[in-house]
């Protein structure tokens, strides 16, 4: 029983980080109809920022998170301008697929540039606090994980506030739901696109900071997060922020439980298998919009 609860606790922590990592993907899909394949790269870049500010400046994860967010934002905007914007409105082109490929190309470039600059060996970022908090008999969670989860939840709340209360936050939802009406109200489409990509990439970079100490920092550190982000986003429903967050927790928990009962190596194949089933049975995911998936 306690092993079960331990898995639940660890699943919740992981779920929080997955949520931060993936919510950007759904935002981008909602506004730009693009499956952003650089989401994993941003996690990788966030990890490197965390390592650099820790190694060079002695900063902890909070400052590291801020730095990563800034860097991520800049990258996001640059990627939008270079890889997505030129494709918008092109005739005779399947935008979704082409943007998928162009962002995929950027991801390849980014991880190989990282390889060039930093080398293949992983960098280690030690946890910010050591030790564990003992909750109950046999159930404990490391302080570090708690802090990471706390930052994750805080970030999600901040994002929620931004999206529902601020001028540009609402504008993002508007553009996602009804582009023409939004533009008629003076909402600048390009600026919103840049903002969406910037914010989403910043979020992924923050996730990279959060993952940096559990999951080594290396040029390919973004591959697995990308796959997981795709799974979570589809499961939650592309375009739905709430669905994505819910899905993130469910999948975090599922992973922890599968690892517990079947072994770690089964979690990824099972995840993919389940996402295949989801796509067949309910492609819109948990809370996605019905208009999206069917032919």
């Amino acid at each position: 029983m306690s092993a079960f609860l331990q898995a639940v606790v660890s699943g919740l922590v992981t779920g929080s980080i997955y949520a931060v990592m993936t919510v950007g993907m759904t935002l981008i899909y909602g506004t730009l109809r693009t499956l952003n394949m650089t989401q994993g790269s941003m996690v990788m870049i966030g990890g490197y920022v965390a390592w650099m500010v820790f190694d060079g400046l002695g900063w902890g994860p909070i400052l590291g998170g801020v730095a990563a967010a800034v860097v991520g934002f800049a990258f996001g905007v640059a990627i939008q301008q270079a890889a997505i914007r030129p494709l918008i409105g092109r005739r005779g082109v399947d935008f979704e697929m082409t943007a998928f490929i162009s962002t995929f190309a950027v991801a390849i470039v980014l991880s190989n540039v990282a390889l060039r600059i930093y080398g293949a060996r992983s960098k280690a970022v030690p946890p910010v606090i050591h030790g564990r908090l003992h909750l109950l008999e046999g159930i404990s969670v490391s302080w570090h994980s708690l802090v990471m989860a706390g930052i994750a939840v805080g970030t999600l709340l901040a994002l929620g506030g931004f999206l529902s209360k601020t001028r540009y936050g609402l504008a993002i939802s508007a553009v996602a739901q009804q582009l023409d009406a939004a533009r008629l109200m003076g909402i600048p489409a390009q600026r919103v696109y840049n903002l969406t990509m910037g914010v989403s990439s910043a979020l992924a970079a923050i996730a990279g900071v959060l993952l940096a100490s559990v999951f080594f920092v290396s040029p390919n550190a973004g591959d697995l997060p990308l796959l997981k982000a795709l799974i979570v986003a589809i499961f939650g429903g592309l375009g739905s922020v709430r669905g994505t967050i819910l899905a993130a927790y469910i999948i975090g928990l599922a992973e922890a439980l599968v690892s517990l009962y079947f072994g770690v190596k089964w979690s990824l194949p099972l995840l993919f298998l389940s996402i295949m089933i989801v796509m067949l049975v309910r492609p819109t995911g948990l809370l996605g919009k019905p208009e999206e998936a069917r032919l």
Partner: protein, 234 residues
Amino acid sequence: MLEVRNLNAAYGQTRVLEGVDLTVAAGEFVVVIGPNGHGKTTLLRTISGLVPTTAGEITFDGERIDGERPERIAMRGLVHIPQGDLPFVDMTVEENLVLGAFPADAWRIRAERLERVYGIFPLLADRRSNRARTLSGGERRMLALGRGLMREAKLLMIDEPSLGLAPVIVNEVYQHIEQIVATGITLLLVEENFSHVQTFDARVLLLESGRVVREGLVGDLLADEIVMATYLGT
């Protein structure tokens, strides 16, 4: 206020507007009528920038706006209330309205504007926390109008306010439009059913197959038997 000269627009190879000339002076009320699918909606969409022009000029408040992005044109004070309402379905009524005041100058006074719109449409005040998705057809129409009124428009364009609504609701909508007209705002209205606008003191353009075929005051058209036979009560 608005001057359209030799406007041409097309979808792919299909020409939709040909050589359309139109002016709306400040404070005027102009109505465009005509059968469905003959370009009335495209006319408004071209003016507001959603559809590109293939030829011609559009001048708003003294400046050329053809070729500009819709958001820029909107920021100049041109408010287009589109056909079909286009509400933000997953947002509440209040969020929808508030976004109507997106431009910085309107955003600052959005609380005021919101109260004003709630005053004109008490129904929206009642439903302010409901998601737009849950609104009925008539309520959506009110929402679209309310959203458009959140800004001070130099020119207000309304596309087919009676579309898809039951006659009782249409009357309500047109009562609100009367109120709007009474404020002296410059208004360009597109309507398929001439009977709804026959009581207004307006200039009318008849658009057929993308061309302006008749122009005159409401009274002139009422006196024209052919027009009446075709369009009254359609």
